[in-house]
């Protein structure tokens, strides 16, 4: 039963791959780190300008989607291509203590930085140990 599901899944990705530009999605590399105040994500999405970036943070999920625009002369043919799509997409499941309404994002030279703060009351508190 599960084998069948695997096979049908694989078939559908192949169809996506043949229709390169429109539907083959790239997973951008990401750094994710957490400090006392919140969580920071950094993703490489070269070629994406601010107006072609879609960033959605709801209660549970953070969705990052962008379309790269590459200037190409007319009639250009690919001799070699590591990058075979223009669509980036990646999503993360968030957790309760993050304050998604206060998410901040910055895009510079193809690097997207997303900062999600933790709720003040849920930030770790340092507990003083008193010598008895």
């Amino acid at each position: 039963m599960s084998d069948k599901q695997e096979v049908s899944k694989r078939d559908s990705t192949e169809i996506e791959r043949t229709d390169r530009d429109s539907s083959f999605v790239m997973l951008p590399p990401a750094d994710v780190f957490e400090d006392a105040e919140g969580i920071t994500l950094q993703l490489d999405i070269p070629g994406v300008a601010k107006d072609r970036l879609n960033l959605q943070a709801n209660k549970n999920t953070l969705l990052i989607e962008g379309t790269a625009r590459i200037e190409m002369p007319q009639g250009m043919e690919a001799l070699y291509a590591d990058v075979r799509s223009t669509l980036y997409r990646r999503s993360f499941v968030l957790s309760d203590e993050l304050e998604t309404d206060k998410t901040e994002a910055n895009l510079k030279d193809g690097v997207l930085t997303v900062r999600i703060p933790k709720r003040a009351e849920l930030r770790p508190r340092r507990i003083e140990v008193r010598a008895g």
């Binding site: 694989r10 192949e14 791959r17 590399p29 990401a30 750094d31 994710v32 780190f33 957490e34 400090d35 006392a36 920071t40 950094q42 993703l43 490489d44 999405i45 070269p46 070629g47 994406v48 300008a49 790269a68 625009r69 590459i70 200037e71 190409m72 002369p73 007319q74 009639g75 250009m76 043919e77 690919a78 001799l79 070699y80 291509a81 590591d82 990058v83 510079k108 030279d109 193809g110 690097v111």
Partner: protein, 146 residues
Amino acid sequence: MFGSLTNFESLFEEFRRMEQQMDQLFGSGTQPPAIRSVARGTFPPINVGAAADGIDVYLFAAGLDPKSIELNIQRNLLTVAGERQVPVNENATYYRQERFSGPFRRVIALPEDVDPDRVEAKYRDGVLQITTRRRESAKPRQITIA
């Protein structure tokens, strides 16, 4: 009960089908790679496009300081070198560190007819675009019949 274990014929059929799928995905594999080609996933990813009057090279290298990129061309060999330093936050816990950090160098063999004196480069939104022109004599030319 052991029917599936003894039925080798269908097992080999299955392997053959998988091989065919792999070949479709990654090319036939009979063509040996170019001497300067690199392993898949090397930073930065590169696309090379050819038009009638020139060759364009695109490097997908986000987060670089354009002044730090070293770009050289010798005949038809284009070399791009630089360094991307991703600062590490000492006080943070890292869950993922997938982004490339460190020096890089890539050599791209362009077609022989590229004019090394007419190369332009610009860096925008994390993509370095290098535009080259073919030598005049190499361009396709319409010949009028007198």
